[in-house]
Amino acid sequence: MNQRTGDVPAPGADPSPSPVRVFLLNCGSSSLADRGFSGLMLVCALSIFAIVILILVELISGSKLTIQKFGMSFFFGSAWDPVNGNFGALPFIYGTVVSSILSLIIAVPLAVGVAIFLTEMCPAFLRGFLAFFTELLAAIPSVVYGLWAVFVLIPLLRQYVNPFLIKTMGWSGIFAGPNYGIGMFAAGVILSIMILPIISSLTREVISAVPHSQREAVLALGATRWEMIRMGVLRNARIGIVGAVILGLGRALGETMAVTMVIGNRPEIARSLLAPGYSMASVIANEFTEASDALYLSALIEIGLALFIVTVIVNALARVLVWAVTRGAPVRGT
């Protein structure tokens, strides 16, 4: 791999140190202090690796009991019976996966639409404001989204959206059953609102990295604006957009507080999306402090371990994809 690719040169600066600098660095009289300083900085940088390893070691040692007792069947069993010491994580995995996928289905088309609007169509005076606003939304704490969902979104869903869904699509069984308001569907909706800013701002970054010459070339051939976006922009940015979506997925998988407040917290696999469910992060949040015996605690930690491994893989994949597109991108002209 080319080692230089990840380095972003500062605008107006040389990407590599000049011979003058190398000379000056090597003839200093304080090389001992310098070496000590750079060593200290290195240790701090390495602490990031240490954190990852520490988390992994702590989680594995904490979940030893259930790993030994249940093995892989832990992830396929659907019993969750703390009293009799029988644990299976399937309902939680199901809840996490379904609510995340649901949120992606809602969020991705909207996020890409917003990104296209912001980069290709938006008047300049609106762009700054909207970009700032999306950034702000990405910074709102999960618990505040949850608070809003409990008092505004849930009543809205219960009164207007869910009855409509039951009426029009109730025959399929996916939208059926008692209408509590809380449940898998509500979790998917609040998750989609939460991951939208992340996906759209990254997509915007990726789309901005597509060179102008691509757009101009397609336009010069007589394409309409949409054809230009489709052929010149989206086609070139697709890998990065997939990366942005996967990053959003990673966020959705690990989202805890807002989901805990709306998903209903019932460890069952129901066919209907309106039924209450449970997710991996929320079972940890709800039951961790109540876990009375070692096996129970170990089961919860193993769920955390699974969550950790999955999100690390998902995030690494997403970063590689986004990075593949945005590296070496020209600075967008004003």
Binding site: G6, A10, A13, P17, S18, V20, R21, L24, L25, A33, D34, F37, S38, M41, C44, A45, S47, I48, I51, I55, E58, L59, S61, G62, A111, G113, I116, L118, M121, F133, L136, A139, P141, S142, V144, L147, W148, F151, V152, I193, Q214, V218, L221, G222, E227, I229, G254, E255, T256, M257, I284, T289, G304, L307, F308, T311, V312, V314, N315, A316
Partner: protein, 296 residues
């Protein structure tokens, strides 16, 4: 790159042209529509938060501790203090380590594979769910100590600050021109001194706002505190005892059945949001204005 372009089918038939113009308009409408559709709930969240939050903020909110269920009044003063203590511990841990990590990547590790790996790991670590940090710190600190504590909560938040600060520090340092460093070295300043008093100092507005952003992010974190700081209904300033925190208290109050507690939850949420909006706005202001006043 260039080979990726697909030639648009350029057929000159009138009907085809009409169709293309129609699709173009349709796509434009869809993009504008999705922007409106996205902005609407988001503006609604803000509006509702300000409306509900502002009406529940008063002096008692900032000076009193929660009253027992059923009694009106009371505030979240102990949660605000608790959050401040937790964030102080987190910053003490996260800020120096984070900045040092950023200095390493930008100043010593340029073009090295190790620095790229650190950068990549920091990005990945940023995406790890905060509740996982909570579990790790629980087994690391709470289990040996045998009780929940403010220290554990602070460490959990501090760990979450490190990758964010490392990345922003690195980005800000990279914006400092190399000439500035060479000028310092040319005057005989040792390299470590040049990094600390010239480069870092030049980039300091950016680095500070980066820290504030990380600070604001963890200020709203609830999940890692659930089983580290745990929460507390009373005044507590000891780092060895469970401590109240604003986001934790919002969570507890939001899922409670009492109107009075809901009111407090909205007030707490507004306080959090104001903190976050201010720091995000500051970051944008500094980044937009150019970090490097006086450098060039």
């Amino acid at each position: 790159m260039a080979s990726n372009i697909v030639m648009p089918p350029l057929r000159a038939r009138a009907s085809n042209r009409l169709w293309r113009v129609f699709v173009n308009h349709l796509a434009t409408t869809a993009a504008v529509g999705s922007t409106i559709l996205v902005m609407a709930p988001l503006i609604a969240i803000f509006g509702y938060l300000i409306y509900k939050g502002a009406s529940s903020l008063n002096l008692a909110f900032f000076t009193q501790i929660p009253k027992p269920v059923g009694e009106a009044g009371g505030g979240m003063a102990n949660s605000i203090l608790g959050s401040a203590i937790l964030l102080a511990i987190a910053s003490l841990m996260g800020v120096p380590i984070g900045i040092a990590g950023g200095i390493y990547i930008a100043e010593f590790g340029r073009n090295k594979r190790l620095a790229n790996m650190v950068r990549f790991t920091a990005d990945v670590l940023n995406g790890v769910p905060s509740i996982v940090m909570g579990i790790a710190v629980y087994t690391l600190i709470v289990v040996p100590q045998k009780h929940f504590s403010a220290l554990a909560g602070g460490v959990a938040l501090g760990i979450m600050m490190i990758p964010t600060i490392t990345r922003t520090t690195e980005e800000m340092l990279l914006m400092v021109p190399l000439n500035v460093r060479e000028a310092a070295l040319g005057l005989g300043v040792p390299n470590w001194r040049s990094v600390l008093s010239i480069t870092l100092r030049t980039a300091s507005p950016g680095v500070i706002t980066g820290c504030m952003l990380a600070f604001a992010r963890v200020a709203g974190e609830t999940a890692p505190l659930l089983f580290t700081a745990f929460g507390n209904q009373f005044w507590s300033t000891s780092v060895n005892e469970p401590i109240a925190a604003l986001p934790l208290q919002i969570f507890v109050y939001a899922i409670s059945p009492y109107d009075e507690w809901h009111r407090l939850a909205w007030g707490g949420a507004l306080v959090l949001i104001v903190l976050i909006v201010v720091s995000v706005a500051l970051v944008r202001y500094v980044a937009g204005r150019g970090v490097l006043k006086g450098a060039s």
